[in-house]
Amino acid sequence: MEYNIIISGIGGQGVLTVARILGEAALYSGIKVRMSEVHGLSQRFGSLFAHVRMGEQVYGGLVPMGKGNMLLALEPAESLRYMHYMKKGGALVLNKNPIEPPQVSMGLFNYPNLLKIKDIATEKFGLRVIEVDAKKIAAEAGGELAQNSAMLGAALEIPGFPLTREAIVYAVRKVISSRYADINIKAIDLGSEETKKIVAAIF
């Protein structure tokens, strides 16, 4: 087994926290794991990524180009930077809520259309897109900060994903402040629920 995940988003969104949760869940499950994180400059509201790799054949922290199984995009346009790291047939789990970057507010750049992003993922890279309205789910669970947990809930539904709900819940309790753990766990379950139908249709 080798399972490669790239998490992409913008500094401040919690890219590294999601990676930590996946890593702790893998350790809990007895799966060998290697992760790469980006610390430093990009954490100041810039494009940010983390890699999480699981499996016995895994040595380094970087997902080899073309060998990714899942792209967990916490922000839609940020998915465009890493699609070419995915395998054909891989999953793009996409939070559909954009964060408008300053260059767009300043009128220097147009934000790409969501339909176009999904189109590129399916047509150009052969990915299966699972769109998640993480903002809505998080609000339902009790707090906007739980968006990433909704994404993790969605990931749990993807065939081949090697981690269980139990492992993810354990890791959430370990990594996230106990004050917010319950809201996040609720968001995980809501995320799974919302995703089940989409997954059944495309996998």
């Binding site: 913008i10 500094g11 990676a19 930590r20 890593g23 702790e24 350790l27 060998k32 794991v33 290697r34 992760m35 790469s36 994180e37 980006v38 610390h39 430093g40 400059l41 990009s42 954490q43 100041r44 509201f45 810039g46 494009s47 054949q57 895994v58 040595y59 380094g60 922290g61 970087l62 997902v63 080899p64 180009m65 073309g66 060998k67 346009a77 940020e78 465009l80 930077r81 699609m83 070419h84 790291y85 408008e100 970057p101 300053p102 260059q103 767009v104 507010s105 300043m106 009128g107 220097l108 750049f109 147009n110 934000y111 790409p112 176009k116 992003i117 590129i120 150009k124 890279f125 906007e144």
Partner: protein, 630 residues
């Protein structure tokens, strides 16, 4: 605090490479730690500060890397095991100490961790620390994984004491920030029960005073010790896989080893003879020579400079070994290596088809990424630097020249602020400003306004300011004093109100004592006050210092969040907003967005950290507090 770091018993945990180094040092009986932060090394310092009290070790955030290095030397000479950590360019600052101390040697073990940043993820340049090791003639160990980082840290202390030498432990961004499972050993007795930094300095001026006649003897002794280290320890610092494999060999080290292992599976090959060396300098001569004799063709796979390759070629030449040696002809020399780059190098070496159409994928990746709006890092909402930069530009106009420095504020380079015209190395803002002020008087004398952060000021701005004042220079220096070293994760500096072991030093008093021609302290959140100070400064000549003081917004918001406190929020009154975009196109707080359908600005309430600066920027008085945060 991570339990895995301080637990006396051995345990298994997910650790960053940097955390594994910390644990390795503790397992080796560390007592003294001093460092200046720098990505990707900073987590070592942060962890040491975090655990110091509990474990009874001494840990400090030093003013710069040279100071930290020399303090460690003093501790080692007093019989206390010491460690410093720094980013690659930190060693440039500490190199004066390294080059002389190398041959004087240590008493208790002294390990300098130096973290390279291939591809310059968070750095101003790319350099290979292993070349420093060769230059100073000290051993350098090069781990591949977090587990390896722990065990090689312990090995480094063993070598340091056995051969009385400083040892460099070199990591890279990819290893420092790689997380993986680590099985730790146990801590030696006594941690947490007693102070681990109580030693004794035994005088030995015939070793510790580097007068020429002493330095000559020290040098020869050190050269001999290094020769012995290489001969005796060499074969324990290499690992060979498939010793009876094919007649094709790989020599590698550091994270490149991981990529070779993965390329093997990817290309579907097996039986390649792989030699991993954990010491890149001095390269273990006998094991390398034996390995070279066992193969017809060898590929050296290493990141950045051909440090291993050149030594391998020397050994082959000296020993008269007939073997074809490849390295940087097939492996990229610039930037970070990746699994795909190494797979391609290996396939070229083996004359196989590459496992993927790398060029095609990369081209597709480029095309696709080009559709994503660029999202470079930005100053945080409410960042005091933004308000200061805005005010500087308002007072000094576009005609001024803006030498700047390294820190969060380097982001003032980006539009709309564009108040960073130069950035070289820490402290250079002041000295470059001095040079420009002297040399650019030709076009009628533009105002030169330099900016420097408080941490950078204490790191290496002090001597530059003394020089400028003593030489009668002519520029304005604005010290962006947010009370912390923000860029690298909010470590204290000598000007910080809290976090230091001793006294706080006042920047304005330092500037006055040096004889600056004007010294003022202003609050960046009061934009007209900063503009006023700038205007007063521009009316006179000489070296004028303005201290713009306001706590780092990210630090203060994080503390409020932790304590469950709230803060003020601002909003745009759509009726008053004329859509002039001044708040976006001249100021640029990332919380302010543009509603294209209404042609009005609005503020994302989740992102507003309540500084109130945009309200001062808006020419139509359209921005007001809507939630006073109580």
């Amino acid at each position: 605090m991570s339990n895995a770091l301080v637990s006396p018993a051995s345990n298994k945990a997910l650790m960053l490479g940097n955390e594994a180094i910390v644990r390795g040092a503790l397992e080796s009986g560390l007592g003294f730690f001093a460092a200046y932060p720098g990505t990707p090394s900073s987590e070592i310092l942060d962890a040491m500060i975090d655990i110091a009290k509990v474990l009874g070790i001494y840990a400090e955030v030093s003013a710069n890397e040279k100071v930290a290095f020399e303090a460690c030397l003093g501790a080692s000479w007093s019989g206390i095991r010491a460690m410093t950590s720094m980013k690659h360019v930190g060693l440039n600052v500490a190199s004066d100490a390294l080059m002389s101390a190398a041959s004087m040697g240590v008493r208790a073990g002294f390990v300098a961790v130096v973290a390279d940043d291939p591809s310059m993820w968070s750095s101003q340049n790319e350099q290979d620390t292993r070349i420093y090791a060769r230059f100073a003639n000290v051993p350098v160990l090069d781990p591949s994984t977090p587990q390896d980082a722990l065990s090689l840290t312990k090995k480094a202390y063993e070598l340091s004491e056995k051969y009385r030498t400083i040892v460099i432990l070199r990591t890279t961004t990819r290893l420092s920030h790689m997380r993986g499972e680590v099985e730790t050993g146990s801590l030696p007795q006594g941690y947490g029960k007693e102070k681990r930094y109580i030693g004794e300095f035994k005088k030995d001026p015939d070793r510790f005073v580097s007068l020429p006649q002493i330095a000559r003897r020290n040098k020869l002794e050190h050269v001999n010790a290094m020769r012995k280290l290489e001969e005796v320890e060499g074969d324990k610092l290499v690992e060979i896989e498939h010793a009876d494999g094919s007649d094709l060999g790989i020599i590698t080290g550091g994270v490149s080893y991981n990529y070779i292992k993965e390329a093997e599976t990817w290309l579907g090959i097996s039986g390649l003879r792989i030699m991993r060396t954990m010491m890149s300098y001095p390269l273990p001569r006998k094991p390398i020579a034996d390995f070279l004799k066992s193969v017809d063709k060898v590929l050296v796979v290493e990141e950045l400079e051909p440090v291993i390759e050149e030594q391998v070629k020397l050994i082959a030449f000296d020993e008269g070994i007939d073997v074809e040696i490849h390295g940087k002809d097939l492996v990229p020399r610039d930037f970070e290596l990746t699994p795909e780059k190494v797979a391609i190098s290996l396939s070229r070496f083996l004359k196989l088809d590459p496992p993927i159409d790398f060029e095609l994928l990369e081209r597709m990746g480029k095309e696709t990424s080009a559709l994503a709006p660029p999202v470079p890092p930005t100053l945080c909402p409410a960042c005091p630097h933004r308000s200061t930069f805005y005010a500087i530009r308002k007072a000094a106009t576009n005609r001024a020249i803006f030498p700047s420095d390294i820190g969060c504020y380097t982001l003032g380079y980006y539009p709309p602020l564009k108040t960073v015209d130069t950035c070289v190395d820490m402290g250079a803002s002041v000295s470059v400003a001095h040079g420009i002020a002297v040399a650019s008087r030709g076009d009628g004398g533009k105002t030169v306004v330099a900016t420097i952060g408080d941490s950078t000021f204490f790191h290496s701005g002090l001597s530059a300011l003394a020089n400028a004042i003593a030489n009668g220079s002519d520029f304005i220096l604005v010290v962006l004093d947010n009370g912390t070293t923000a860029m690298t994760g909010h470590q204290p500096n000598p000007g910080s109100a809290e976090g230091n072991r001793g006294k706080r030093i006042s920047i304005e008093e330092v500037a006055k004592a040096m004889g600056a021609d004007l010294v003022e302290v202003v609050d960046p959140y009061d934009i007209s006050a900063v503009v006023g100070a700038m205007k007063r400064a521009m009316e006179i000549k000489g070296v004028r210092v303005i201290v713009a003081r306001r706590e780092c917004a990210l630090k203060s918001i994080s503390e409020k969040r932790r304590k469950g406190e709230t803060w003020k929020r601002y909003a745009v009154n759509a009726e008053k907003c004329t859509g002039c975009k001044a708040c976006i196109n001249a100021f640029g707080c990332p919380a302010i967005k543009w509603d294209a359908s209404n042609k009005k600005a609005y503020i994302d309430p989740e992102m507003c950290w309540g500084c109130g600066s945009c309200a001062q920027v808006c020419p139509f008085d359209a921005i007001k507090v809507v939630d006073d945060g109580v």
